[in-house]
Symmetry: C2
């Protein structure tokens, strides 16, 4: 009989989904306004659905191809099970489902937020944040449910739900070996989720900027009509883009991080167990012997509940509240949920881990690690999640020193504005990378790579809350757009603008959180990869490995360039279409002719999906090419090939994190430097406003920053995670992954031992049940 | 008695310097023109001298501080000898001397080129390229002379000029151990040279762009006077800047690469010898047993002679020649010298290396490497040197596809122009990094890291030729400026413009060569570092090492940002000064009042030296900080600290190469996109010229690109080389660097063996003498 603990995370996830369903029906019950508002909102909803539909068609093709490839791998590699294909498909479907739900609720919440803003700011916040909450809980709930569900299934399928040795594939395997098979198969789920994220994040990033730039270039610049003007045919596509890029893209990104982080922590937990059992072969605990593997799932599960508590605290009372109060409400909810996660980590670690664990540290002697040290590692993760937001805000926030400097430089033209923005993004890598490096070092010092992975898990535990905060931004942005397009009274727009302004800040800090999570996730995956392949490290003093480090470092740069060029091309398509409509549709400028919104949506959709092919192929193709090349050149040295791929992964991760931070922050800084002119800025002793030459220079900077911060920058997250995941899935081809051939004596001992363990486990389980009963 | 071969490179270097002296007096004998021309040329010369003087003052302080620091290290670390301080000072002095000579001849050649251009284009090329040749040979000659001179001295001082075991510092040491001491001390020379390069490249880069941007912003934009107009007070500083940045900066950069490459190859040659002697303790050869160590010096020495032959081929006959013919003449000279180096490598490798050498390959079994494979490795280096120029030219050359694309994007404004330029720079990393990665892999596959270092050495062998081609550009640029300022007839400017235009191309390809050399040099130094410290590789699966890889990756990004900001600040100083002069000097705009050129020169000088402090401290301080931090946290694990520093070095190198390529090529692309408008470009079916909106957008792009390509981009070379050199100098603190404690029996065996070797060496020497006599 296995411990109840294995089911707890899944139950918590279901609870989260139930709360989500309740919240969802509350949001949908809100007044959706009337006439023009409803009409515009419907256009946005339909546009979003059109994108999803087109995306799903492409996804289906991709999933089929990838499934076949995985099936081939599963056939060739004895340790990879065919079930990986099932896990992969479900990972893709769950991620797509989460994105679908998020997009739908976001495009339903926007108009309801507008309607609420007609009477009350607190209510408008409640609706828009409610929409965000639905999105956040949907993503987190599905991620945890899917991952834990498959884990339970595979644990029973491959191991009969018990941590014991067993004959598998004709050989007697130790439980750690069997668990490796379980987790390798589970990696398929993660790979499926991250593949969808590639489509959603990269495709979405191209979509949103193509629509945005296209709408602005012809509408604002050429035709001289304001932003969000209903006469602009691209305006609906622009609003759809906010949902496609910022809601669905971000959601899929964090869905992928969430799953991958927990998975990597489980893989490393398995190796912790193996090391424990080397010293204490009869080791077991109250969780069927797999406490260290269950811990990350438990943290994730409880994180959902604490996120719910956090969301309940996000509210304001004053109808005349300003940005600071709204931001304060969000901060309160965020910090409370982080604090609760910290407390829960303390108890979970104490409860689920052995008091001390003997861990191997490469290049140092093995150490006895107390469970408290694992708790410290989780605190490191939570600190990173909090500090990264402050760092990001410092470099991109309105009124902060770097932004003011860019504003000043705008007075001498676009050239100096751009140099200042680039330099700001570049300098911002300094504290960010020091933070990450310290986090890697500290969490590793506390509890090895298991510590690093648990730091990431703890940080990701509040994903639902982070996403709620994040999705609330584009919903408010859309709400403002609907108010504008429906020509509602000015105070409505003022209220939505307050929410939108806060949303801009949370968008920047959310990007900081996303890259921090991607960085830690990738490192955890990287560590899992090394242990999977059974190599004893990645030695960059081997020239083939060093060469791959170089190539890996180059990939994010080229990927970013491709993404930027894609935005340019897609935007040009949009420009031509808008120009055509202005020319050909009679009365369009007078408001009597109706623009063909759908055509613009279709163009953005098509362009986004077309343009994401090349970066996608780059991401997926390169690791595979390296392995094939390596196996060709070093046919008898799979270990070297594994190191080469590891060098590539490290190169992609280091360079990808750098370029993500650089591009996100430079883009955010340019954006807010431009926005500073709206309230007026003091340059050389003179107040300067919108329309001045300095403002025009700042607009140029923002044009450069747009693809930086919304397309290529955030795409880096997917690139680095997917690279490391592909490595993890390929790993069994390369590595013995700890598979040992046992002598007869050893096998007999193992059998005996597993019998003992079965007995012990049963006893321990019974003891726990008693203890749990006592607890109650 | 040691082999004559040890003296050959020094003799060849002296020959090169003699040829240089002859060429120099020929150039100086040319007619320097009259009146205004002479006056302006004198201003430039004096401005250059003023910069040098100020730089030397700062350098002297730096050298004193660094010498004290080195002396402290030498006192603490038993294996580091106090002579390293002497070597360091000489390295700095030699490099400064080479820069001084180069600057002087360049500022003398410019006016003579102008004067020659009054009558004949072939003669103008002869003078300007003659000036470049003097520069190139001065740098190469001094580099080889200094390095080989000190090697001879240290080899005799520490080893009595013989490859035998000896009691040193109270212990009996194997010859390889003693040679390590020789080479560690020699590293001081390289460190001195590279430190000067930091000042020359970074300071020079800031100087040249501050003067350029300052002159343009007030002169061209505000006052509306043409470029190089004598009424502009900053125009002399601008012309001085060309010499400071492009001549002295590039010269110091390549001087440093040259020395460091040869040094690294010698270090690795020493380890090749050690491996050989493990299998064949009585090994010796015709070169006192140190053929593999002498080989890189020999290649460098002969390279000087072949460069001279190459320079003799650079000539044109037709007075009506166009750019293509000038470029063709340069290419002919270049390829002939490269070809001759290839041939000489074949013979030198055959002559100086044992037929087969047993080499250790980390992670693979030891292999028997034939000397032919070493030759193949040198060919890899020569190919990289050639191909990198083509790649660079493709991405930055006038009329090439990427430039045309940027031109097209200029029509929709500065924003799209900038995005296109950034994307071009980013994409250009793809072939460049693949080229470098292939070179690393191939040269390593041929002959291990010794192969990598020899690939670099072969590539650097034509340094004199490369520098001649490179320095000819700014000389021609200056010549054009003097023609303009002296109001000479238009055909003079037309002739110098042809040279200048070719010079722009060679400037871009020269930057490609410089980064390729920096990359290979750093790798060779990195390999030397690992062998020095005696660690068995750099395992990035240790979290502290991985954390340092991240931090190392971040440094080039922050360094670039600092350099860019420095240009901005220094340019503003210049702007204020030029404005002041325009305001306060009566009759300045009418040409009756004389601008105070000296003040602008002083401002640029001061700003450049002030602004390079922070990047300099970053470069030098971080490796030291890492070692101190590492030793504090891991007091008993110097090996781990050594790996951490190695991880940092790898991070700096990979990221630095990427950012160098990105910035150089983006900057070059923007520059030529702007230049395309001078002849007119076809945009959307319309011919577009200077002064159009598209051209203005392209000018903005060029403003962004200026610090990219002339300051931060080229500075990366120094950053990565200096980082690896500092690592190499610190190495003895961290590593046992192969120092073994010998048992008594082993010591006795070693003693006996060294006696035998002495006898064998004498015999072999005699045999060689006979053979050499037969050759003749």
């Amino acid at each position: 009989m296995d411990s109840i603990m294995i089911y707890v995370p899944a139950i918590l996830a279901v609870l989260g989904l139930l709360f989500m369903a309740a919240k969802r029906s509350w949001v949908l019950k809100q007044d959706a306004g009337d006439g023009k508002m409803k009409e515009i909102s419907d256009y946005i909803y339909e546009g979003a659905l059109a994108f999803l539909k087109a995306e799903y068609r492409l996804l289906a093709i991709f999933v089929i191809i990838a499934s076949v490839a995985l099936a081939v791998i599963a056939t060739i590699v004895p340790t990879t099970d065919m079930l990986i294909v099932v896990a992969f498909i479900f990972g893709a479907v769950f991620s797509a489902l989460a994105g679908n739900m998020g997009m739908k609720i976001a495009t339903k919440s926007n108009v309801r937020t507008t309607q609420a803003a007609r009477t009350s700011l607190p209510q408008a916040l409640k609706v828009s944040f409610g929409g965000g909450t639905v999105m956040g809980l949907g993503v987190a709930g599905l991620a945890v449910l899917g991952l834990t569900g498959f884990f339970i299934f595979f644990f029973h399928y491959f191991m009969d739900g018990q941590w014991v040795a067993k004959t598998f594939d004709g050989e007697l395997r130790s439980p750690a070996e069997l668990m490796t098979v379980v987790l390798e198969t589970l990696a398929g789920f993660s790979l499926g989720a991250e593949s969808i994220a590639l489509f959603a994040r990269v495709g979405g990033g191209i979509y949103t900027k193509a629509a945005d730039v296209g709408a602005d270039l012809v509408g604002k610049v050429e035709a001289g009509i304001p932003e969000d003007d209903p006469r602009n045919p691209a305006t609906i596509a622009d609003n759809v883009g906010d949902n496609v890029g910022d809601v669905a893209g971000m959601g899929a990104d964090l869905f992928g991080s969430y799953v991958a982080t927990v998975l990597a922590a489980m893989v490393l937990g398995n190796y912790v167990l193996r090391d424990i059992m080397v010293n204490d072969p009869a080791f077991t605990d109250a969780f069927g012997g797999i406490g260290p593997i269950l811990l990350p799932m438990a943290i994730a599960g409880f994180g959902i509940i604490f996120s719910i508590i956090g969301t309940l605290l996000v509210r304001i009372k004053d109808n005349n509240a300003k940005e600071a109060q709204v931001q304060g409400a969000l901060n309160l909810g965020n910090w409370v949920s982080i604090g609760l996660v910290a407390i829960s980590c303390y108890f979970l670690v104490q409860y689920m881990l052995p008091e001390t664990m003997r861990m191997e540290f490469y290049g140092e002697e093995a150490k006895d690690i107390s469970s408290m040290r694992v708790f410290y590692a989780t605190i490191v993760g939570l600190i990173v999640g909090g500090v990264i937001s402050s760092v990001t805000e410092y470099y991109t926030g309105l009124g902060k020193k770097p932004i003011l400097a860019i504003v000043q430089k705008s007075s001498t033209g676009a050239g100096t504005n751009i140099i200042a923005g680039l330099a700001t993004g570049m300098v911002s890598t300094f504290p960010t990378i020091l933070l990450f490096a310290s986090a890697i070092w500290a969490s590793y010092a506390f509890a090895g790579f298991y510590g690093v992975a648990l730091a990431a898990s703890a940080m990701m535990a509040t994903t639902a809350m982070q996403l709620a905060i994040d999705a609330f931004g584009p919903i408010s942005d859309n709400a403002g757009g609907i108010a504008e397009m429906s020509e509602l009274p000015k105070e409505v727009r003022t209220r939505t603008d307050i929410l939108d302004s806060v949303g801009n800040t949370t968008a920047a800090t959310g990007k900081g959180f996303a890259i921090a999570s991607a960085a830690l996730t990738s490192l955890a995956l990287f560590a899992a990869y090394v242990t999977f392949t059974g190599i004893d490290g990645i030695n960059i003093f081997k020239a083939p490995v060093l060469a791959m480090l170089f190539i890996g470092g180059m990939i994010p740069v080229v990927f970013s360039a491709l993404a930027m060029n894609s935005v340019g091309k897609a935007a040009m398509d949009m420009v031509y279409e808008v120009r055509r409509q202005f020319r050909e549709i009679p009365g369009i400028m007078e408001g009597t002719g109706k623009p063909e919104y759908g055509k613009c949506v279709a163009i953005s959709t098509k362009a986004a999906l077309r343009e994401m092919m090349l970066p996608g192929i780059l991401t997926i193709g390169f690791p595979i090419a390296i392995v094939l090349f390596g196996m060709l050149v070093y046919p008898d040295n799979n270990q070297l090939v594994a190191e080469m791929l590891g060098g590539y992964m490290a190169g992609v991760t280091v360079s990808g994190v750098l370029w993500a931070v650089f591009q996100n922050n430079a883009g955010g800084a340019w954006d807010n430097a431009k926005k500073s002119f709206e309230a007026g800025v003091m340059i050389n002793g003179e107040m300067t406003y919108k329309g001045s030459d300095a403002h025009k220079a700042a607009v140029t900077g923002d044009t450069v920053g747009d693809p930086f911060k919304d397309t290529s920058g955030p795409s880096m997250n997917i690139l680095i995670k997917l690279t490391c995941l592909i490595g993890l899935v390929i790993a069994p081809i390369l590595g013995g992954h700890g598979k040992e051939t046992l002598s007869e004596a050893d096998a007999a001992a193992l059998k005996q031992q597993s019998k003992e363990i079965k007995t012990e486990t049963a006893k321990a389980s019974a003891a726990t049940d008693t203890r749990t009963a006592e607890y109650k």
